[in-house]
Symmetry: C2
Subunit: 294 residues, 2 copies
């Protein structure tokens, strides 16, 4: 099975788990539950769930537990897209080729659906079905809250909004990306270790992998914004350039960014080499993402 | 000490704890942390924290643990106000006499600050400082996620938005309020029992208290919207009437609503009577809230 097939197959499995875990719309408040499902069902590669499931497999974590964490991270990621697409933020009409949630429903419903997806992410983690040990569940909640919070993803969104008012260099752009997308990748890569009660060395390995893979992913995404088509990106392209935002591609140039991406892919591969063939798909992922962009 | 003094004194204690627990603004993402603090520092009676602290005291829960839960519920409550005030929702310019967060900062920052306050609420609960037993921390997270989620507060907000499209009777208005404000009151009243590992009977008593107290509070709030001034309410008044929304006041009439409120206050008092003098402040609270409205 190719890596592309594995990613597709996992996405189908995650879609099914999400369908089962999300509420069925009912009653006078059903509209917000409909909007939650609509936003999540936009699909996509389910890259963060893939990372959860692949890293959890390194430690033999039961699949059903890892799948719950995969659903939680995807709910949180989806909420961030719903709020990010709002008129007051990026004002996007399309997401993966479909109307964004506030275009399909309305702004108020989209705000509430985002809030509800963020909230349910923590509900999923705190549920006994995720892990029998309460301390593990609480640790997962803590990890996700930090990754998604004011020092993590939300802090990155704030930096992104502030970016046009500053002349960010490579250091600041890397910090921005580490917060905006890196923190959730790190959560996704370490959740399996948390579920398994792995060693500090495991956490360090997965931290290194997540950092390099996340940055490679972001550069690949920026490359698509510069060189790609709407079909490739599944969303409007050229927006960063238009907004005058510094990205690693604007700083390094297209060729320099590709070279940096390749270096990061190699470094990420090395970080998980010690886990043997079980880590093959993780090792190949950054190069796979880079291919998509070139 | 009068109940009003006790509420004020607790609010000051909670304000101090919130100041210590909220992040200090720093870096390029400091603006969202500033907005988090601004929103929380709007003050108010801190009624939900008061309920947490008073019910926790029934079971001898250490004050520092109860205070952390009090901060968590206030962060979550504040996020709901920040998002509720947005132009796409209630479009309010004033909150407790100050510019709302999106008026003081901007819409994007207010959306992010709300998201961050929701997120930090779970971070606070999941932290070991809240309780040494991970299962208790996870249970608190679960309780709060359900109270604040699509079947709880957010579901109530959604019903509230849908209300003008329907002719809600008393049953639907009570359901709406049970979700919109009741669920968080219930969390606040039961968190102490959770921290203490109290009995099922305790949870049932506090459930009954929270239900009656919450509805009395909501009727009092609706009465202020009808009969009060901007100074009393600390926000625009007459909005429900203007929007043609059914409330228990519009259904029962002002005098009928006051009578129902008094009945609920008595029922709430009875629910905690078994705890003796320790519950005196809880027992007096509904009448205190009703007084505020008349």
């Amino acid at each position: 099975m190719t890596l592309a097939d594995a990613v597709r197959q996992t996405a189908a499995e995650v879609d099914q788990a999400l369908d089962a875990i999300l509420p069925q719309p009912h009653g006078f408040h059903g509209r917000v539950q409909e909007a939650m499902r609509y936003a999540v069902q936009a699909g996509g590669k389910r890259l963060r769930p893939f990372l959860v499931l692949e890293t959890a497999a390194l430690f033999g974590v039961p699949r059903d537990r890892a799948l719950r964490v995969a659903c939680a991270i995807e709910c949180l990621h989806t909420y961030s897209l719903v709020h990010d697409d709002l008129p007051a933020m990026d004002d996007d009409d399309l997401r993966r080729g479909r109307p964004t949630t506030h275009r399909q429903f309305d702004e108020a419903t989209a705000i509430l659906a985002g809030d509800a997806l963020l909230t349910i992410a923590f509900e999923i983690l705190a549920d006994e079905a995720t892990h029998p040990d309460g301390a593990v569940r609480a640790a997962l909640v803590m990890d996700l809250a930090r990754a998604g919070g004011h020092e993590g993803m939300i802090g990155g969104q704030m930096m992104d909004i502030e970016a046009p008012n500053h002349s960010f260099g490579a250091k600041e752009v890397i910090e921005l990306q580490a917060r905006k997308t890196g923190a959730l990748f790190e959560f996704s890569c370490q959740a399996g270790a948390r579920l398994a009660g792995a060693t500090a060395q495991d956490f360090a390995n997965l931290h290194a992998y997540a950092r390099d893979m996340g940055l490679a992913f972001q550069i690949a995404d920026d490359l698509i914004d510069v060189t790609g088509t709407v079909e490739q990106a599944g969303k409007a392209v050229g927006k960063d350039q238009e907004a005058g935002k510094a990205t690693l591609v604007s700083i390094y140039g297209v060729e320099g960014a590709k070279a940096e991406c390749a270096r990061l892919a190699e470094s990420a591969r090395a970080a998980v080499a010690g886990y043997g063939p079980k880590a093959d798909r993780l090792a190949g992922l950054p190069a796979f993402l880079l291919d998509r962009a070139s």
